[in-house]
């Protein structure tokens, strides 16, 4: 930064206008979030003037049973959806990478559709689908979350398949053949040779699925019932009807959770690995 050498032609990043542009963009991206986080500690119901530090809205948010329930629901759904998407997504990736089979193009194309089809259309489709097959809605927790979880798995697993398949492309088939020549069974070769190789892809895919599931509002909005409120749906109704500092507090907790997850991912993969997974 305090480098005094002349700016080389390609060092665009050292030019003042370029720096201000990036700085302003970052300000645009982060200012709203930072203001929200700071004012979650503000001792005032209004969002504008600083009246002193307080944790009372965190206390309120944590004592708000429906908000906590929504958070627990969201995390449960994200956890279940991630595990199932990881298995199905990895299987789908291996299937497309390894085998030649009839209608492969069709299967491959259909699998990329949940990524492309607008969320609203997918949400509507699940609403009609679960109404049509009379999916029971009065099951005990956590079974009542099954409809939402199924919907989430459907749009998460193609992303997992995509990430894992990108990783599979760098796998050397000869390694597996060598394992088999040395007496490994199909299952052993899969578990001890292929699985360790795709592990980074699995981690990236799992994080992606978890975030996508935790983030989803539109599809959940159409599949959730009165007893199955998730965190985004709850925040939506709170924003819609009465904005309270409790939402700031609850949002700050979720933002911090996201940051923590990102840093775990960083520890596991390094910054570069994360960048490449997108």
């Amino acid at each position: 930064m305090f480098n005094r050498t002349a700016i080389a032609p390609l060092e665009y990043t050292r030019k003042l206008w370029m720096r201000s542009w990036v700085g302003l963009t970052m300000l645009f991206l982060y200012a709203p979030l930072l203001v929200l986080m700071i004012f979650s500690f503000n001792d005032s119901r209004r969002n504008i003037e600083w009246k002193g530090f307080t944790l009372k809205y965190y206390e309120k948010a944590l004592n708000n049973d429906s908000l906590v329930e929504a958070m627990v629901n969201s995390l449960t759904i994200a956890f279940l959806a991630t595990i199932v998407s990881l298995v199905i997504g990895a299987l789908a990736a291996v299937m497309l990478w390894r085998f030649r089979f009839p209608f492969k193009g069709l299967v491959e194309g259909t699998m990329s559709l949940p990524i492309i089809v607008p969320e609203i259309c997918l949400g509507v489709a699940f609403l009609i689908f679960f109404a049509k097959i009379d999916w029971p809605t009065d099951l005990p927790w956590p079974l009542n979350l099954s409809a939402i979880t199924i919907a989430h798995i459907t749009f998460c697993f193609p992303f997992v398949a995509m990430v894992v398949r990108a990783r599979l492309a760098s796998f050397n088939m000869e390694e597996e053949e060598a394992a088999k020549d040395l007496g490994a069974t199909d299952w052993q070769a899969f578990r001890d040779v292929l699985l360790p190789h795709i592990k980074p892809g699995l981690i990236a895919g799992a994080l992606l699925a978890f975030t996508l599931s935790l983030d989803d509002f539109v599809i959940t909005f159409f599949t959730s019932g009165p007893d199955t409120i998730t965190f985004p749906v709850k925040v939506y109704s709170m924003v819609r009807f009465s904005v309270t500092p409790e939402v700031n507090a609850a949002s700050t907790i979720l933002i911090l959770l996201t940051v923590i997850l990102t840093f775990i991912a960083l520890k596991l993969q390094g910054v570069k690995g994360i960048a490449q997974s997108h």
Binding site: N47, G89, F99, T262, A275
Partner: protein
């Protein structure tokens, strides 16, 4: 790679073990629901809770009435404007990341990606809080206004009237700003990955041979980054076209987009067949966009 592909017939058992779950899930929980929506789009309401699939095209006829067509076109215009603004803001950012010192690059990338990992609803809500009549954006504008007023008195003109907070939310401007805010990372990441692959010596050559920075940018950088630009445009345009949350929360009565109209058919208006027809029209629009892009990609391949 293709030589290593195994035929499923020679490996029936492993193939079945691997393929059953994904294919089954896709058929049952994606193809089936979409097929039901498609069938419903040719149906009509015959009772309060019963729909008869009669093969009628009335829903599609109604969807092409001017009222709905204009909302469709407006959604397309809003999405296109959002994409354009994202491209204008995002390109220099992607350039800056590409040419940044290696130790800064991952952190700049992370800075772009972290908001992308943050909950969409929370980001929209945070922006709304900033844009309210008592929010900081209004305060900032008020400050500028007073500065302008002060400048006017300095040159001997009448000062401006006192600043009254403006309504920044609940209009089309707010929708576009909200969509740009949400979709900016989608644009920057593909642009960066295209620019990163670009051979930097070509830029140097262009500069050495006397072209200015602007000319080099237009004639060398942009054409070489074209695949990334197209990818970024598609990745931004498609979700922006189907956006529901931003127009719903930040828009006014006249800024509803197609997704809000679809939602209304399933909740308040309770006209499922019509909503189904509208959603399929939206899906067809996506297909057309993707087809246009792949046609373009094929053309580029032929030229080379």
């Amino acid at each position: 790679m293709s030589g290593a592909l195994q035929d499923w017939k020679s490996q029936k058992r492993p193939f079945a073990a691997i393929a059953t779950a994904p294919v089954f899930w896709l058929a049952l929980f994606f193809v089936a629901p979409m097929a039901i929506v498609w069938l419903y789009s040719f149906g009509q309401n015959v009772g309060p809770a019963s729909i008869e699939i009669s093969g009628t095209l009335d829903n599609y006829k109604r969807a092409t009435e001017w009222l709905y067509l204009s909302i469709f076109l407006k959604s397309l215009a809003v999405a296109a404007l959002t994409t354009l603004i994202c491209l204008i803001i995002g390109f220099p950012v992607a350039m800056a990341i590409t040419f940044a010192a290696p130790k800064w690059r991952p952190w700049l990338l992370l800075g772009i990606m972290l908001p992308f990992w943050t909950n969409l609803l929370i980001r929209t809500y945070a922006l709304m809080a900033l844009m309210g009549t008592n929010g900081y954006m209004n305060k900032g504008l008020g400050g500028l206004w007073e500065g302008a007023s002060w400048l006017r008195t300095l040159v001997g003109m009448q000062p401006l009237e006192a600043w009254t907070p403006v309504q920044l939310l609940y209009n089309n401007f707010a929708v576009v700003l909200g969509l740009v805010y949400v979709h900016l990372p989608f644009m920057v990441l593909p642009l960066y990955s295209a620019l990163d692959r670009l051979d930097k010596s070509l830029i140097e050559a262009s500069l050495d041979l006397g072209a200015g920075h602007f000319k080099t940018f237009m004639k060398v950088v942009v054409p070489l980054a074209a695949p990334g630009i197209v990818a970024g445009v598609m990745i931004t345009l498609i979700p922006a076209l189907g956006a529901y949350l931003t127009p719903d929360l930040m828009g006014g009565t006249d800024s509803q987009m197609i997704a809000n109209v679809i939602e209304r058919q399933f909740k308040r208006a309770n006209d499922w067949p019509f909503g189904a027809a509208l959603s399929f029209l939206l899906i067809y629009a996506m297909f057309i966009l993707i087809a246009l892009q792949s046609m373009r990609a094929n053309k580029v391949k032929e030229v080379r």
